[in-house]
Symmetry: D2
């Protein structure tokens, strides 16, 4: 028995009342009721495997038991729900846990800022701080980068459709080619450095570079280790701060807690959001080196900086990182995912199928139009999986990190069927 | 017995780990543990009356029983926690309730957009839409306005300190004087219209005007009814959209659900956040006339648009608005508040004490420096109350709307004592 | 006999080849052949009195004999024509004369910059320098100001039609109301200071104010002495540089060499162009206090900074300022002009005729549409006179400063007839 | 006998009175008195050969006899000196001659705009028109481009030192690499097209590309024919207008009247200035295809659009283009220049000497610091020659186009000596 009033199961209320701006409801047209781990159910009782993970906000799966219990206890005890940036026990526990489980073991001494509970707010605060600290204004963003929808974050976002939505020109940013943008044989750092070193290039010295180590929205482009190290070195040489936007790639999505760990980077500023709250609750952090903590009190603020329900689950979520098991487990499943995607892709050379990504953020790029059909076919078959890329050219497998081997296999089986259904006929047409 | 691990009760973790940007923790230096209704308790067991209400996010008080029960039930049933903008039962219920309890009775037919769960995100989406719909770029903001910390919202915010934090010049906005800015005898609309109608004024026709009917952060300046009606008429004549930022003043803060209801305004776009979630949980809405729903799917998006825990409590919160009792009750308490503040203010003519505000958002403006001391004195005495104004010149009484008469009286008694303590000696000095 | 090949006397070549952007040729549709003093002749031999003076570039009249002789001598001796910013004898003579006849007697010690030979270039260099010297970016411009057509100058220009021509939004400037803009009883400095002193006004401290003491293009609005002195004081208090754009009003147009002399102003930066070259030849100067000379060599440059033919005539023109006679003579003729305009205006109360301006830059404002018809009627009768104001609402009498009493009387007689012809019937209609 | 008052021959007046912004006077520290053809004389009677040509404004040499006679006749006849954009005989003659000698023979049907008499004004008007015609805002400029000092032109200029002089961020422009910028093996058009075609590149579709076919200020970089043709094709495909800034390269500097003629380009807009006036007098033109003539009357204006003395000499100068002899003659001298430079450069392989340029705009690039010393050595020896490049790394030979073979040889002999003096010891040091 379900004690809540039940919805209609139909989408008419949404169609009647919600703005045309709605999007995922169009790709996944069902009314969802409940969820657990890597599974969701709609109001008709249909079950779905989740290869989407709330766009990265549900790395620990839906309604994980331990966090849920903590949350209910906290509610029952009338714990503080909302505190702006006042001190609460829940926030204190989170900070301690974050220091002890994340920062200390990695030799990081970042100061922690709560910039408002969304990714775009973390990015905006990072950009402000970089400009304040350097006295410079321009920030380097990359082709196909995605950093958020508010004007500051949008200015360093590559997607032209989203940028146009601003309705005004976006300034104080310059876009440079990401690793691989000019093909496999061109090191785009050369291009960037030419502009930096040349007194006639028209680009004033930038305050910062904002970087995703793997572009989750922009087509699963993964920067190579040499390129990342070279970029960090470039930042050092030209006095630019290195901001890593780890909003989607952090919290274990690519394996380690921070996506940049394997490459030896020590970013000046790090943005976290999405899964940092643990339970899908809004929360974000901006981390920076202590010497950059040049903020005046209240210089950046926001009403929901103190979402204590998120602090409760976030602190609990960090238990996953108290030893190396979770990361090792992700790594094992990442290999399983890679192998399966390789097999699938190898069947469609005519569609230029190409496996991309890292960790549990991998997918297959296809010719235009195919990935969207795969997503539709998968949804019919009970798999929630979205596309990536400004032309939706990549099918992106992004299961919860806690998925078990059976769940992963089951999801991949459905994906395989869906690729067949979507791409098969097309390939046939191409081959003929 | 309190089953959660308890914090230290001291602030050292915050001082060690949190950025210098933290602010309220400096005004209210305690570690809070629990809260209920209009009361909070810190880890030392000290009790506080809340005249702050989470800066307007806790209009229904802390942990209201009905919402809490719904929330716990929802969690226990594994209801969807995070859904981006997919359809869920919780969201459906919220939309229905919002239509039936809020929009329909007021003859409003707004489309509803979920722009990301913070006020600044609602403002950014409103500005984007206004620019898209009109093809114009400039937006009129007002002196002492506060609309948010991301670059688009900051450009229409008056506070110079916050603006400077941007680190870059803010564009595509023009600041005009709010009602009363040039003194009681000058109608600032004349000033605005001069600039609009004159072909030599240097101001291109604006896309929109963004308005707070009462400036909660900017010093409790309340626009008069004739000025508000005149502004709406100005918008009509010059094809500018009227955006009401009701993030702090909506949800009953000034009495009616929307602050603009008593003045007969029908804004083109309305921004809601803060108390719309009911329980202090991050949530925001952008409402607009159906003919303005010109968004393309996904043109503005965000990870935490689907904070379903907030939808659950938000739907429950709207029960307060199913008949007129709640509004009438606020009105009664607002009068009690007004009377008390008048009495207090009347004692300090030499300090130029002036009562300001509307509904349960009222305060007393003083000469510089006094209001901050009042806030400190009050905190010592167990009352959480903040200041308003870019120079913190106003002490702002903003209790939860559900406060009872006793709570209100008790808080006002402490406030009275605190004013005496803070201002008394100073007044003496002035009088001598 | 006229030894040059003669033109057709018709406008077809212009209509065929020249862009639609051409403007004065539409108001004054004749092909001009020669000119002397305050008279012009077209190819049909028709004679015109000039009350236009090349929009202020011909204060000394057409082809003044002494300058012409110097110019021809210089050409015959193969004097340097073009020198960028290298040293030439002609430039040296000009600098000495400018120092001795203009700066020294007025107690001014300005450094002299040759910014390129047009007014807009002088303005652009002044704005750059003010921003460099203060480290601030915003510049205050005034309603109905006119400073030039390049993007920097356009940003401080009020005319919306010209601004729109930019095709991009114009930034780093804010427009405030000029003296009288809010009616005779409002001191607009109060508005400005409110925005400057208030920490919530959204206006960051400006680098400079750019000012015309009399708005020649914007409708002949004349700032009063108290307002000008108050503005200078405001600049002092807020660390803003005072830039006087004396491009049209300098060189004696309002009487003294600099228009600001009678008001005791000592601007930080002064822009000169138009009549500084003496003979209508392109030339401009940017003057500034020695402590502001913070330029690096070549930081602002331009090909035609060294127009030596202009230096030759400019040096000769400065002989007019070696004693006070010229200024006294302008003053006498300004009174004659004032009296005549007063008499004309007094006949048309129903058309709200209002005499405006100063010195030999005076005119009559009328209801919309009338001034343009007056200009047309005058041209038919042999008087070249243009309108002013963004709606061309003012007929502007602007004869060469060297005009004699007879010429002035004759021009005014034609103007009187033209006003009768243009306005008479209209007034009749209004009176009935 | 020299009838004018003579200068002191010393630089003290300039040092006392002129701003620190002065530049060429520092490289060429003499006071010049007269000039003829390719020769100048200073006040000490020292003679100089001119390999500088007023930075391209004196292509026809100093004080050419025919133009001088026309000019003196015109002055003696009291021809109109200054006419804003009214019609005059002098302007009519220029337009006819320009049509008949330049446009018609080249099959061009451009409309002619007089945008104010400086290059930067022509560029500003071109950018405005491109934005108006396309409804787009961004304009592509190139690395090391030079287009002018006013804010619109500066935004498409590459030189960082000049850009910084703006004192404000420069917007609505994006810098792409010029031909050869990434080395000889990279076609930079590929970079540009990647950004244009990719929906995630962050660059909105530009209104226009502004191009110098040879970068006169930016280091004598010459774009290749395939690159130029490819760029024109790119403009066509993406609906961008092609603006050629031929201010320095037009009027025969590279051989043909327009520098783009040999490459089969038909630019949408062309900017001309510098030598268009013939005698070094300020003048500029903006040419555009008739379908782009979307200006409203007066949308862009300026006081010195009607510099009739320039029209007189400009019309006379166009006689050089009535047949092909002048172009052929330039071509012969260009070869002589090339050969000589090749010989000089071949002596300094250790200094990485590299011959660059086209037509009578050629030079030798060296390691940093050498070219400036060559210029100094040459000036001592009686040759005026400047450097090019943002680091002044190129010695630029740019004689008047009318120079005879003897003059050219003599200048080159001095140049050779100067290179020896400046570079010799350095090379020795390098070789050891």
């Amino acid at each position: 028995m379900f004690p809540l009033e039940q919805g209609s199961g139909a989408l008419n209320v949404f169609e009647e009342m919600e703005s045309e701006v709605r999007s995922y409801i169009r790709s996944f047209p069902a009314v969802f009721r409940k969820a657990s781990g890597y599974r969701l159910w709609d109001t008709d009782g249909k079950e779905y495997i989740d290869f989407f993970s709330g766009a990265g906000a549900l790395n620990y799966g839906h309604n994980p038991t331990d966090m849920k219990r903590k949350l209910i206890d906290y509610l029952q005890e009338d714990g503080i729900s909302h505190s702006l940036d006042m001190a609460t026990e829940a926030k204190e526990r989170f900070l301690q846990r974050f220091r002890d489980a994340i920062l200390k073991p990695r030799g990081l001494s970042y100061k922690v800022m709560f910039p408002g509970p969304t990714g775009t707010n973390a990015v905006e605060s990072a950009l402000k701080l970089a400009r304040k600290a350097t006295g410079r204004q321009t920030v380097i963003g990359f082709t196909n980068a995605f950093h958020g929808m508010t004007l500051g974050a949008l200015a360093v976002t590559g997607n032209k459709f989203k940028r146009k939505g601003a309705g005004v020109p976006l300034h104080h940013a310059v876009t440079f080619p990401y690793d691989g943008y000019m093909g496999p044989n061109v090191n785009t750092l050369t291009y960037i450095e030419n502009f930096l070193k040349d007194s006639g290039s028209g680009i004033s010295l930038p305050a910062a570079v904002i970087l995703e180590t793997l572009q989750g929205e922009g087509g699963l482009n993964a920067a190579s280790e040499p390129w990342l190290r070279g970029l960090a070195e470039l930042c050092r040489r030209y006095g630019m701060l290195l901001i890593v936007d780890d909003i989607q790639m952090g919290c274990g999505r690519t394996g380690p807690f921070f996506s940049f760990e394997p490459f030896g980077l020590k970013p000046d500023i790090v943005c976290l959001s999405k899964s940092i709250g643990g339970y899908g609750l809004p929360m974000a952090l901006t981390l920076f080196k202590p010497e950059l903590d040049l903020w005046s009190p209240g210089e950046h603020n926001g009403t929901f900086r103190g979402n204590n329900l998120a602090f409760v689950t976030a602190a609990e979520a960090l238990r996953h990182w108290e030893n190396g098991e979770f990361e090792a487990d992700i790594s094992r499943k990442a290999k399983q995912l890679r192998n399966a995607l390789n097999i699938i892709a190898s069947r469609y050379p005519a569609l230029q199928a190409e496996v991309r990504g890292r960790g549990l953020m991998q997918g297959i790029a296809f010719e235009a139009g195919i990935a969207e059909r795969i997503s539709q076919e998968a949804f019919k078959r009970g798999l929630v999986i979205e596309t990536s890329g400004t032309d939706s050219e990549v099918i992106k497998a992004m299961p919860p990190l806690i998925i078990d081997s059976e769940g992963l296999s089951e999801g991949l089986r459905i994906l395989d069927d869906s690729v067949k259904a979507a791409a098969g006929s097309m390939e046939a047409a191409v081959i003929q």
